[in-house]
């Protein structure tokens, strides 16, 4: 039995006008870090809230360690640690008070479960008397994770835990998740950051309420049928317009220093020939190892 399993979960808002989730099915194995990767508004929060038994699905079903979040919501709430996207601790209580409070709420003993949160707590210790509202973004998230862990949950549901957090803290946060995984905790984490996808064991790409792909972060890009090229030139904007004008271009998007191009057919030389007359100066076009972003762009283009 899978630790988390969903079967065609569907949820609409505004009396059916907005579809947040459309028949979403996926499974998470015990003890893995499963990433929900998708842009804002893809339905990640809705999905996690349904699993956390906070929202009812319109149709479809889910199970967490065998419990249905609709019928057995009380049981589900005992085994999950949930961290909402927005910082949701008491800003007027100190770090220590927040921890103690959540330990009471979860009927847990801070001392018994201390080993689990020790790493995090050590980082927070210097600020333990500070009010939660005055912590930095990264510290807030660490405290929230601490609070979600005080009762030793089997499953962690984390909704965009690293959004708005500095890169160093993000890295530390992920190190912590990997350590928790080693303790056998199953972690479902959503993120809009593609680079965090590679830190997950498996990921699901989600967009507009549907799951596009599921698999390991390494295998998903390999499923792309077309090679991906990185293009760059002196005038990047002109290049982008010109590549998009090329009839055989499947997709072309900017990623950092270069544009990633996928071609419907033809060789890269044909594209270079097409560009020759339009772009002043040399154009570099190299085949690259595709990333998660390229899969997204491919799917987005294919759907429209």
């Amino acid at each position: 039995m899978k630790t988390i399993q969903t079967d065609r979960l569907t949820r609409t808002f505004d009396k059916g006008k907005v579809t947040a989730l459309q028949e979403v099915s996926f499974a998470v194995e015990k003890g893995e870090i499963f990433g929900l990767i998708g842009p804002d508004g893809a339905g990640k929060t809705t999905l996690i809230r349904i699993l956390a038994s906070l929202i009812l699905p319109d149709s479809g079903s889910a199970s967490l360690a065998g419990f249905d979040p609709v019928r057995d919501y009380a049981r589900v709430r005992q085994i999950i640690g949930y961290m909402p996207g927005r910082f949701s601790l008491y800003q007027d209580l100190s770090v220590q008070e927040n921890l103690r409070f959540f330990a009471t709420v979860f009927k847990a003993d801070l001392e018994t479960n201390y080993p689990l949160i020790k790493d995090l707590y050590d980082q927070l210790a210097p600020f333990k008397n500070r009010r939660a509202g005055q912590l930095s973004g990264g510290m807030k998230q660490k405290l929230a994770l601490c609070c979600a862990l005080v009762h030793e949950p089997e499953i962690l549901l984390l909704d965009e835990p690293t959004t708005g957090v500095d890169p160093v803290s993000r890295r530390e946060f992920w190190d912590m998740l990997i350590r928790l995984k080693a303790r056998g905790i199953t972690i479902l984490v959503s993120t809009p950051y593609m680079d965090e996808a590679t830190l997950c064991d498996r990921i699901a790409l989600i967009q507009k309420g549907t799951i596009l792909e599921t698999g390991t972060p390494a295998e998903i890009p390999r499923r792309l049928s077309r090679p991906v090229y990185a293009a760059s030139a002196g005038d990047m904007y002109l290049l982008l317009r010109a590549v998009r004008d090329y009839p055989e271009t499947h997709s072309c998007y900017t990623f950092g220093e270069s544009h990633h191009v996928q071609l419907k057919s033809g060789s890269p030389q044909d594209l270079l020939d097409f560009l020759g007359g339009r772009i002043p100066g040399p154009v570099a076009l190299d085949q690259i190892e595709p990333g998660i972003e390229d899969v997204f762009m491919d799917k987005m283009t294919s759907r429209t």
Partner: protein, 362 residues
């Protein structure tokens, strides 16, 4: 959980001050500043007789604490000007030969003119004046033997001096409890919704009702403190008696506090924003509580649809109960009906609130 709620309340000194100082302020305000009694009304005397009798009557008026003679005038035509300036509230006109008429015709005429732009004050002031003249007449009559005489002996039971504090102490308790319990509890719960902390609490193993109950406890305690403060002030500062059983009074208070807490809980289940919760509590519950309790306006004078509405307002019943216990000194035997109505209402509200309370976000 409850400990945390107390911390929240204590960490916010402004609202704590508001919650504790408000009853004291309201009590003192109603007790000393806002009184139904009309004292030291300025009276203009237009004495066209200038005899022994009119002088005595004028002195009587001036000596009473209710009147203050502001001037003597010869002609009644000055009265409109005095009223317009607000220089006088009342004018007494003695016609020429007042004493003579009184002695020989057995009838002395006195004209009392009042500025009725404020009808209540005018009515009260004229009644005070009539009472003073009446008392004087009784003294005169006492000297003679009359064949027939009807003696009207009026006594105001329960509150012989018509001290207004008697009526507003129950009123202020009503007000404070409505504000404190209904508004503060609903706002406290809705605040958790706004902050997103309710989301975490709901996703925890704690029973949702437990969350709500522990949020209500600090306000229950505060409400009890406020009731104690109000009663202490009432008894020791304003001299309002508690004639009935203190235990019964506190029991009824607890019942009413539960009622207002249930209302607050109900408000919190139907609103998403703190401002909305506050608005609904104030307009939806505090205003009716004020208007229909009978504390400010007698319910009997209202048109029947409003009277009918007033039956649905818990405050109406609570106000009657408190009034009966404190001022009339009645026991449970005479207020069991009101108590029963209040208890049924409370139970109904609690059931409704619990049913409406969502164990999920949406």
């Amino acid at each position: 959980m409850t400990i945390k709620e107390f911390k929240h309340v204590l960490r916010d000194p402004r609202s704590l001050f508001f919650l504790l100082a408000q009853p004291v302020m309201l009590m003192l305000l109603f007790g000393f500043a806002l009184s139904n009694e009309v004292k030291e009304s300025r009276v203009a005397i237009i004495d066209q007789a200038r005899d022994e009798e009119t002088k005595k009557l004028t002195d009587r008026l001036d000596q009473s604490e209710y009147f203050d003679v502001m001037g003597h005038y010869a002609d009644p035509s000055v009265v409109p000007a005095l009223f317009e300036k607000g220089a006088a509230r009342l004018a007494i006109v003695f016609p020429p030969h007042f004493a003579n008429d009184l002695e020989h015709l057995n009838a002395g005429q006195i004209q009392v003119l009042a500025d009725a732009s404020d009808p209540n004050t005018a009515a009260i002031a004229t009644s005070y004046a009539s009472a003073i003249f009446g008392a004087y007449q009784d003294e005169l009559l006492g000297l003679m033997k009359l064949p027939y005489k009807i003696n009207i002996e009026t006594r105001m039971l329960y509150n012989p001096q018509l001290v207004s504090a008697f009526s507003f102490v129950p009123g202020v308790m009503t007000l404070i409890l409505t504000i404190l319990c209904t508004m503060m509890t609903s706002v406290a719960i809705v605040r958790e919704k706004e902050l997103g902390t309710l989301e975490v609490l709901l996703a925890s193993p704690m029973h949702p009702m437990q969350i709500v109950v522990s949020k209500a406890v600090p306000y229950l305690v505060l409400a009890m403190i406020d009731v104690a403060v109000i009663l202490l002030l009432a008894v020791y500062v304003l001299g309002v008696p508690i004639r009935g059983s203190l235990f019964l009074l506190m029991a009824e208070n607890t019942l009413y506090i539960s009622n207002t807490l249930a209302l607050g809980l109900l408000v919190s289940t139907i609103t998403e924003k703190q401002q909305v919760a506050m608005f609904v509590s104030l307009v939806g519950f505090m205003l009716p509580a004020l208007l229909f309790s009978g504390f400010m306006f007698p319910i009997e004078n209202m048109p029947w649809p409003l009277q009918w509405i007033s039956h649905a307002v818990p405050t109406r019943w609570y106000y009657r109960i408190v009034n009966a216990i404190m001022i009339k000194g009645l026991g449970l035997a005479s207020i069991w009906k009101e108590t029963l109505i209040l208890a049924v209402m409370t139970l109904g509200l609690l059931v409704l609130a619990v049913k409406k309370f969502k164990v999920r976000l949406l």
